[in-house]
Amino acid sequence: MATNTLPEQPTAETGSHAVLEVKDLTVEFPTDDGVVHAVRGVGFSLEPGQVLGIVGESGSGKSVTSLAIMGLLPPSARIHGEVNFRGRNLLKLPDKEQTKIRGKQIAMIFQDPMTSLNPVYSVGWQLQEAILAHQDIDKGKAWARAVELLDLVGIPNAADRAKNYPHEFSGGMRQRVVIAMAMTNDPDVIIADEPTTALDVTVQAQVLDTLERVQENTSAGIVLITHDLGVVAGMADRVLVMYAGKPVEIGDTDSIYYDPRMPYTLGLLGSLPRLDAKGAEALTPIRGAPPSLINLPPGCPFSPRCPMSRPNCDSDEPALRPVAGVDHVAACHYAEELAGDIAAAEVFETAEADVQALEELDHLGTLDQAEAEQAEERA
């Protein structure tokens, strides 16, 4: 298994101003079937007020990364690397110290709003608890602040609804409550782990809106983890694409979307339906499935699914290297070939079954018509 060595990122935008800096983070889980290498060398830095979108399929290691930062992985996990928050490596801190940071300086939003809140306590009580855990104020003031926060995230009748229990809220509302909880102590970093995945599209928009509002209010840095490229496009300043436990491309949102340099990123973008697609451009699904993280073969993990793979791709795992300016890095031996405006359909095969199916449907349609006409004649 090749470890990834991150090059320096010495530009003026990153480095000294970063509020959160992750270096060479690896996480392994021992299981009955072998060691799962869930995260294999993740690195990024986050500035105040910046939104970093981490994109990847299920199993790419994005959630595990976020849990590692928060220190919420099970004790069986083996973690290496650095997670530097304000100069301190969180991974080396004892749990007591990490507890002080959690919820106060680094906050987290989880994926499933239906199960994130404790069902036996009222929403206001849970917010109040979050406040009291880090601030030395009396209960009445804490409750008032809780109501304030509910109002901030757009819960109507906040004062009354604060006494309600989680099951009395809809999914979108619950997620907003969770966001409010993340905001309570004015954190420097908010990690949102797939905050909209479990929600309807319209509700998604509302929740993202709320997140944006939170950012305006707190100037926190946000790590937005998702598999939905559309969500990222709207909110993120920078994007980190993860595959098989490693970042495979990092860059500004615009660079990633308009000039992807790693075939996986290209494929992902191509599989996204877009309103501004030209004419009859077909979607390009990426064939195959992500590899198992237990017995990773050598070489680039994307190689078996990559139309551009060459023999050396199967033996040398590419390291992240600058491909278009220092801010844009990609892990591909042949990133240069993707320079310029190359459509995904050009590199990936488009689905051909569509045409066949369409023809068959057409045929059935005429059959139906013929039958209907016959039935009418008989009647």
């Binding site: 099970p74 237990i294 017995n295 139309p307 023999p311 190359i342 050009e346 590199v347």
Partner: protein, 318 residues
């Protein structure tokens, strides 16, 4: 131009070299061997050393109790000249005050207890699964009736119900069968409840709707689709039933309302041996330990089965 795998490389309009991607490359994607579901269940069960060990012990006990009596030199009714003697080579488990060989008695008692337990498990499981399936599938009044009935059975202490029911049948010869019948009459309700619960949740799943849309009959849906999914719970509960049945039957026999002399049961042996517990401990300890061994091994097997059937159990939560 071709790469080492012999695939053709071509250049796209912008000069990118691409080749066709094979749809699946199993060696690289699935690096763990594929297994059928039964194999996985079996594998998980065998990984449970305690459950496997218990299975071995249990089978030994069952075989010994069912046919061991025939091979042992004494029968349970034989009266030997050595009475009240501690364990020896001649009488590995000692003898009682009349001169019965304890080992023969214990084998006989175990035989009766095991027979009853297995019979109860079989009857209760078949009947209970059937009723539970019908209740869970058809719901409405079948379900309501079943629920009210099981509630009823649950409200009255089992031992009391058994005592009253068994009083009728204890007098007849070969009464272990009737005791088993009586026990089964109570036990089926537990399995029915479990199966009903399973069917209630399973019937909402999409594959049932799909089957119905394809025109499958009710019976077919129940037997080909729902029942296999409930098999795990049924088997686990069947093993629990065996353990419960053993404990109930021995308790009943202990208070004198179960299997009666001249036949014997492990419970009866314990009650007979209790008075002499301090002076002739072997009469008290051996039958008791036997009951514990049978129930314990069955419980361990049940636990192993539960873990084997439940795919959501992994040793490490990621």
């Amino acid at each position: 131009m071709a790469d080492t795998e012999g695939q053709e490389l071509r250049r796209t309009e912008h000069g990118v070299q691409v080749h066709e991607v094979a749809a699946t490359t199993p060696e690289r994607e699935f690096t763990i061997a594929a297994r059928t579901q039964t194999q996985m269940i079996l594998r998980r069960f065998l990984a449970h050393k305690l459950a496997v060990g218990s299975l071995v012990v249990f089978l030994i006990v069952v075989v010994a109790s069912l046919i061991g009596g025939r091979f042992w030199r004494y029968s349970y009714a034989d009266i030997t000249p050595e009475f009240s003697s501690p364990p020896s080579l001649k009488h590995p488990m000692g003898t009682d005050s009349i001169g019965h060989d304890s080992m023969a008695q214990i084998l006989r008692g175990a035989q009766k207890s095991v027979q009853v337990a297995l019979m109860v498990a079989f009857l209760a499981t078949t009947f209970g699964a059937l009723i539970g399936a019908l209740a869970g599938y058809y719901r409405s009044w079948t379900d309501a009736a079943l629920m009210r009935f099981t509630d009823l059975v649950l409200t009255i202490p089992a031992i009391a119900l058994l005592a009253v029911l068994a009083a009728n049948v204890s007098e007849t010869a070969g009464n272990w069968f009737f005791i088993g019948l009586v026990l089964a009459l109570l036990q089926w309700t537990y399995i029915a409840r479990v199966v009903r619960g399973q069917f209630l949740s399973l019937r909402e799943k999409e594959f049932v709707e799909a089957a119905r849309a394809l025109g499958a009959s009710d019976a077919r849906i129940m037997f080909r689709h729902l029942l296999p999914n409930a098999t795990g719970s049924i088997i686990v509960n069947a093993t629990i039933t065996v353990a419960v049945a053993i404990l109930l039957e021995t308790a009943l026999s202990y208070i004198g309302l179960g299997i009666r002399p001249p036949d014997t049961s492990l419970g009866l042996l314990v009650s007979e041996g209790q008075q002499a517990a301090t002076t002739r401990p072997w009469l008290f300890w051996f039958p008791g330990i036997f009951i514990v061994i049978i129930a314990l091994t069955v419980n361990f097997i049940g636990d192993g089965l539960r873990d084997a059937f439940d795919p959501t159990q992994t040793r490490v939560r990621a």
